[in-house]
C-alpha cells in the first residue's frame, strides 16, 4: 500500500481546500456584463459604467503577479510598490518593538526578582495594559509632533506589556534549586543572571516576545490608516478610497503572509531556547 506521511496527507488536504474555496469564490462573482448587451435604458441610467464589485480570485492573482514582479517601484507619494509599503511597516514595527524590548526585558527582570518592585509597579501595569494602543495616538501626535514617531510610539506601547509581564513571570518562576546551584557555586549576581535566570526564563520571555510581535503587526495596520503617507495600512486605505478592491484583497493577503513570517521567526527562536527538565 502506498502510504503517504501525515504531513504529505495534510498538505494535500490543504491544497484541496484551497482549490475548492477559490472555485466557489470565482463562481459566486457575477461576470460584468458587456456594454453591447445592455438595453438603452440601462445605458442611460449608468448601468454600463464599470461597477465596483468584489473581484474574483483570478483577478487578485493577476494583480499579485503584477505587484510582486515589480515590488519596489516608486512613482510618487500615491503610487509605490507593495515591497516599499511593507518595508515601511516592518521598519516601524521593528523600531517600536525593539525599543519596547529594551525597556520591558530589564524592567521585567527587576519586577521578577524583587517582590517590592512587583507590588509597586503592578497597579500601573494593570491600568495601562488594557488601553487600546490607538487611544494613545492623539496624545502621541500632540506631544511628539511627528507622525512617524507617533506610529512607532504606538507600536512601542502595545508591544511592551506581553514582554514585560512574561519576563517578570518567567524570572519569578525560576526553580529555586537552580538558583541554589548558582549560590553554592558562588556565581556573581551578573553570572547568575546570565547563566541561570536568563536561560531558565528564556522560553517564557520568548513567548512574550512572540505575542508582542503579533500584536505589533495587528496594530501597525490600524495606526498607518490613521497616520497615512506610507505603509501597508495606508496602502489598504488608499486602495479603498480608489475603490480598487483587487488591491485591497491582495494587500490583506500580504498582511497575513508577513505576519506569519514574523511569527515563525519567533517560533524558531522559541525552539532554540526551549529545554526539557
Amino acid at each position: 500500500m502506498n502510504v503517504l506521511s501525515l504531513n504529505h496527507r495534510a498538505a494535500l488536504l490543504s491544497l484541496v481546500i484551497l482549490i475548492f474555496g477559490l472555485l466557489i469564490w470565482e463562481s459566486l462573482i457575477p461576470a460584468q456584463q458587456a456594454a453591447g448587451e445592455l438595453t438603452e435604458y440601462e445605458r442611460l441610467t449608468g448601468g454600463g459604467a464599470q461597477k465596483a464589485g468584489v473581484p474574483p480570485p483570478s483577478q487578485v492573482f493577476q494583480k499579485a503577479w503584477e505587484e510582486l514582479s515589480n515590488p519596489f517601484y516608486d512613482a510618487g507619494p500615491n503610487d509605490k510598490g507593495i515591497g516599499i509599503q511593507i518595508g515601511y511597516s516592518i521598519y516601524r514595527v521593528l523600531s517600536g518593538y525593539f525599543l519596547a524590548a529594551l525597556v520591558a526585558i530589564p524592567l521585567g527582570f527587576l519586577i521578577g526578582m524583587s517582590p517590592i518592585a512587583y507590588k509597586a509597579l503592578n497597579p500601573f501595569i494593570q491600568v495601562l495594559r488594557p488601553i487600546s494602543p490607538l487611544a494613545w495616538m492623539p496624545l502621541a501626535l500632540f506631544v511628539i509632533q511627528d507622525s512617524e514617531w507617533s506610529a512607532i510610539f504606538v507600536i512601542f506601547i502595545c508591544s511592551i506589556w506581553p514582554m514585560l509581564i512574561n519576563t517578570a513571570f518567567g524570572v519569578a518562576g525560576v526553580r529555586e534549586d537552580w538558583v541554589n546551584v548558582a549560590r553554592t557555586h558562588e556565581l556573581s549576581s551578573m553570572r547568575t543572571a546570565f547563566m541561570v535566570i536568563l536561560p531558565a526564563a528564556a522560553p517564557t520571555i520568548v513567548t512574550g516576545m512572540r505575542i508582542s510581535i503579533g500584536i505589533a503587526w495587528l496594530v501597525i495596520v490600524a495606526a498607518e490608516m490613521l497616520v497615512g503617507g506610507t505603509g501597508i495600512g495606508y496602502y489598504v486605505w488608499n486602495e479603498w478610497n480608489n475603490l480598487d478592491l483587487t488591491s485591497v484583497i491582495f494587500s490583506i493577503l500580504m498582511i497575513g503572509v508577513v505576519g506569519m513570517a514574523l511569527d515563525s521567526m519567533f517560533g524558531v527562536l522559541q525552539r532554540y531556547v526551549a529545554y526539557n527538565e
Binding site: D177, W178, R183, A202, Y275, E277
Partner: protein, 294 residues
C-alpha cells in the same frame, strides 16, 4: 583535644507555625565531623534532616547556634561546601560537560580552558561516564546518569565538605546499588569529608564511617552516633558476613522503628549531643551520656 573539622554547636531552628506560635524543628543540637570522615544522618522524614543540610550548606540560616568548619564560621553558601541535591542539581539547558565545566571554572578562575575541560572529563570518567554522553543534555540522560554527573561535579570542585541530600532517593534499587559502588570508589581515592542524608539503612551501613540517628520532630535531636565498625574497603556482598553487620543493622532498625518515637520530645538540656554507640565483637559499648555544657 584538637578541635573537630566541622562542628555544629547548639543549633536551633524555629519557624513561625502560621498561628502566631512557633514550631521548633530541633533545639540545641550539637555534633561534629572529622576531616575525611563519611557521616550519614538517618531519620524519619519531617525530622529536619534537610533543614540541617540547608544550614550546613549555608542556603538557610539557623535561628540560633553556630556551624564552624576548619576554624571558620559558616555563613552563606560557598564553593567550600559542595551540594548534591536529590533532583535538579543540573542545569537542564547545559550539556553534561558544561554542567561540570562551569563549576570547575568557578572554583579555579585562573585555569585555562583546556585545563578546565581536562579536569572535568577526568571526573566524569571517574564515575563511569564516557565521551558519548558529554554533549547530551540532562533530559537525555537516565536518572542514574544525572546523579553521576552531579557527583562528578561535586568531586571535581573538591570542597572541604561534600553534602549529599538523599542523592539516590529517586533512583530504582538496582541503579542505586551501582552508583553507591561508584561513589565508594571515587571517595576512597580522596580524603573528602562527606555528610549525607538518607533513609535507606543498608545504604548508610555500606557507605558510612558513622551514622547519626535522629529522633522524630518536633524538637528532634541527634540522639545517637553509631560507629560502623566494619573495615573498608567494603562491598555489599562482604559486609553482610561481618560479625558486626547484623548487630548494627538491628540497632538501626530498632531505633527507627521504636526508639525514634520514644526518645522524641523536648529534653530541656542546654546542649543535645549524641550518645556514642560502638559495636565491638557484636557487643555494644555505649559512650558517655550527653555532656552538658556548663
Amino acid at each position: 583535644m584538637p578541635k573537630p573539622y566541622l562542628s555544629v554547636e547548639r543549633m536551633t531552628q524555629r519557624y513561625p507555625d502560621g498561628e502566631g506560635g512557633e514550631l521548633t524543628v530541633f533545639e540545641n543540637a550539637s555534633f561534629s565531623v572529622e576531616k575525611g570522615e563519611f557521616v550519614v544522618i538517618l531519620g524519619h522524614s519531617g525530622c529536619g534532616k534537610s533543614t540541617i543540610m540547608n544550614i550546613l550548606s549555608g542556603l538557610a540560616d539557623a535561628s540560633m547556634g553556630a556551624v564552624i568548619m576548619d576554624g571558620e564560621e559558616v555563613s552563606g553558601p560557598s564553593l567550600e561546601r559542595g551540594v548534591v541535591f536529590q533532583n535538579y542539581s543540573l542545569l537542564p539547558w547545559l550539556t553534561t560537560i558544561k554542567n561540570v565545566t562551569f563549576a570547575v571554572r568557578a572554583r579555579n578562575p585562573t585555569w585555562s580552558k583546556e585545563q578546565v575541560l581536562a579536569h572535568s572529563k577526568k571526573h566524569l570518567e571517574m564515575v563511569g561516564l564516557n565521551e558519548e554522553v558529554f554533549n547530551r543534555k540532562p533530559s537525555q540522560l537516565s536518572g542514574g546518569m544525572r546523579q553521576r554527573v552531579s557527583i562528578a561535579r561535586a568531586f571535581a570542585i573538591s570542597p572541604k565538605l561534600l553534602l549529599l541530600d538523599e542523592p539516590f532517593g529517586a533512583l530504582d534499587a538496582l541503579t542505586r546499588g551501582t552508583i553507591q559502588d561508584e561513589l565508594l570508589k571515587v571517595w576512597a581515592g580522596t580524603n573528602q569529608t562527606v555528610f549525607m542524608i538518607t533513609h535507606d539503612i543498608d545504604e548508610a551501613i555500606l557507605l558510612a564511617d558513622r551514622i547519626l540517628l535522629m529522633t522524630n520532630g518536633p524538637f528532634a535531636r541527634i540522639a545517637e552516633s553509631v560507629d560502623i565498625t566494619i573495615p573498608r574497603p567494603r562491598t555489599r556482598t562482604e559486609i553482610v558476613e561481618h560479625p558486626n553487620y547484623y548487630s548494627i543493622r538491628n540497632h538501626l532498625v530498632q531505633f527507627l522503628g521504636k526508639r525514634s518515637k520514644e526518645l522524641a520530645g523536648q529534653t530541656g538540656a542546654e546542649e543535645n549531643r549524641p550518645e556514642i554507640v560502638h559495636y565491638e565483637n557484636t557487643k555494644p559499648v555505649r559512650g558517655s551520656k550527653p555532656k552538658l555544657a556548663s
